[in-house]
Amino acid sequence: MSAAGFSTGRLVRLAETARAPVGFTFDGEALTGLEGDTVLTAILLSRGALRASEFGPEARAGFCLMGACQDCWVWQEEGPRLRACSTPLAEGMRLLSAAPAQWPARSA
């Protein structure tokens, strides 16, 4: 799978494909997005969903893309969540579709 053009996920790139690649992981798997992608764009170009719903069997993939619906929260391995539609992808991000096992982290 290449970062530009061809996609194995829900989204399809139609334009702006000449940007530098950005590496990140989602549920432990190495993926590549492009500089300027949001976290939502980068994940959904390779995957069908961001997370599972807490209240039903369906998957979640964002809804409004303008920060109003809060459907697109994903987790980071270090804990805090991100709103995927409004967070730019950054090199080395380690993202998760569910809360990390040790959360909330307990400090002595």
């Binding site: 039903g56 993939a61 964002g62 809804f63 409004c64 893309l65 619906c69 805090p80």
Partner: protein
């Protein structure tokens, strides 16, 4: 000497800032986006190369002018731009703001230009991942250069439905069907009023519609979205003659025009009235946008007049602010005359593309109404004997409006369900009261160190 805070950097917020700066004030503009422009003139990240003509079509010159004006004001140090931040609460002249860190911004006067979101009517199956708002599909195309699916069905009503379908097609996406719930007869009646108020804009919309050809259908009834574990697989719908169709797809975009986002206006103390034309609750304000002591409203968050109307309303609200400060100001009368024309156009448009209130009232019991928490129409109806037909009590007991979107996408549909079940108009069902925080915020932000205190700059 006055400290003016503006929330929102769309067409209304930008023109308000420009007008205040023109009078020698130095407003502070807080906005959630990384770059100013708002939603309709939203800008892609730095480094993207498509020119405004490609992104905004016939509105490219307006987008260029707005972006250029705002960037110049920032570069000249005449306004302060605080991007990437949400105003979460307002109290006693302090805005509680959260970005990467927590901030408190003191101000004497507040201009809210918070805009609108898509207005959503539930369709059975719409809780699936891969169903988006129409606005989402446009944002994805404009600011990320992506389509949200390979085979797209767009449904709902309003000007965005046609515009988005044309934009997606032009960009190379496959649009399988454009399903308009507005009957052709309503569109013709409303269309006459639209054409009288703004002939060129109406003609442009009509031309886009004709360009869609046979994928466009008016007067449809949406039955359900078929789904599997991957998301939508088809839209099942009936045409105006009652014939059933099933259109295969992997993405559905939904939207019924816009809903004014009055969250911050409510928190700031504005009153609200049920607006018959726009079929929703809208904040009460005078002709210039005054909604309370030192509180001014502008743009789609006040009245859904679109981007051109928002530019005018932003200037007018800033003029009201200058009047109240006793400062020299531009003459508002010509702007108010233009706004009146925008209002005639918008009201005719609301008739042309009506909100499907009766269809919502009849939705089957197993239809999800609250997409955040999966609360169904039947759950809400079963709540009513306990809660009574009042939206806030039904929310407390039935959780429609309690989820993390805070009612933005369910409260108008929920009101129709309560109204139909109790035999009264939605205006009598009441409006969900907004409460801070205006966006969900991590508790950790309040446990960490003290906020940065800034003063919206004086003079």
């Amino acid at each position: 000497m006055s400290r003016v805070l503006i929330a929102g950097a769309g067409p209304a917020g930008i023109r308000a800032a420009e007008t205040l700066a023109g009078a020698g004030l130095h407003p502070v503009v807080v906005d959630e986006a990384a770059r100013a422009g708002g939603q309709i003139y939203r800008r892609p990240p730095v480094g993207f190369t498509r020119p405004p003509e490609k992104l905004y079509g016939s509105e490219a010159a307006k987008a260029r002018a707005l972006h250029g004006s705002f960037d110049a004001l920032v570069a000249e140090g005449r306004i302060t731009h605080l991007p990437g931040r949400s105003v979460l609460a307002l109290r006693d002249g302090v805005a509680y703001v959260l970005g990467e860190a927590r901030e408190e911004i003191r101000h004497d006067r507040l201009i809210l230009a918070t805009g609108a979101t898509d207005r959503l009517a539930p369709v059975p199956g719409w809780q699936a991942g891969g169903v988006y708002s129409l606005g989402a599909a446009q944002i994805a195309l404009k600011t990320q250069g992506v389509a949200l699916g390979r085979r797209i069905v767009l449904a709902g009503t309003g000007p965005l439905l046609t515009l988005l379908a044309s934009q997606l097609q032009a960009a190379g996406a496959q649009v399988a069907a454009v399903l308009d719930t507005a009957p052709l007869r309503a569109q013709l009646t409303g269309g006459v009023g639209m054409a009288l108020a703004r002939p060129l804009v109406t003609l442009r919309g009509l031309r886009l519609r004709v360009g869609l050809g046979r994928i466009y259908h008016a007067g449809v009834t949406l039955e359900r979205i078929e789904t599997d574990e991957s998301g939508p697989t088809a839209m099942v719908w009936c045409d105006a003659r009652g014939r059933r169709h099933e259109t295969r797809c992997d993405m559905v975009g939904l939207g019924w025009h816009l809903r004014a986002d009055g969250t911050l206006a409510d928190i700031a103390g504005a009153r609200f009235d049920w607006d018959r034309a726009f079929h929703q609750w809208l904040p009460r304000a005078d002709a210039l946008g005054r909604a309370g002591e030192g509180l001014y409203l502008a743009g789609d968050g006040l009245r859904i007049l679109g981007a051109d109307g928002a530019e005018l309303a932003g200037q007018v609200a800033a003029i009201a602010c200058l009047q109240d400060l006793g400062l020299p100001h531009p003459e508002p009368a010509p702007l108010l005359r233009q706004l009146a024309r925008m209002r005639r156009f918008a009201e005719a448009m609301a008739c042309a593309f009506p909100w499907p209130d009766e269809a919502i009232g009849r939705l089957p019991d197993d239809t999800v109404i609250c997409r955040c928490e999966g609360v169904r129409a039947g759950d809400l109806r079963n709540t009513l004997p306990l809660s009574g037909p009042e939206a806030n009590r039904a929310k407390s007991l039935g959780r429609v409006g309690m989820g993390r979107c805070q009612g933005r996408y369910c409260q108008l549909a929920g009101a129709e369900i309560i109204a139909a079940a109790s035999g009264r108009p939605p205006s009598e069902v009441g409006r969900l009261r907004a409460q801070p925080p205006a966006r969900p915020a991590p508790v950790g932000a309040w446990l960490s160190e003290a906020p940065t205190e800034c003063e919206a700059e004086a003079e």
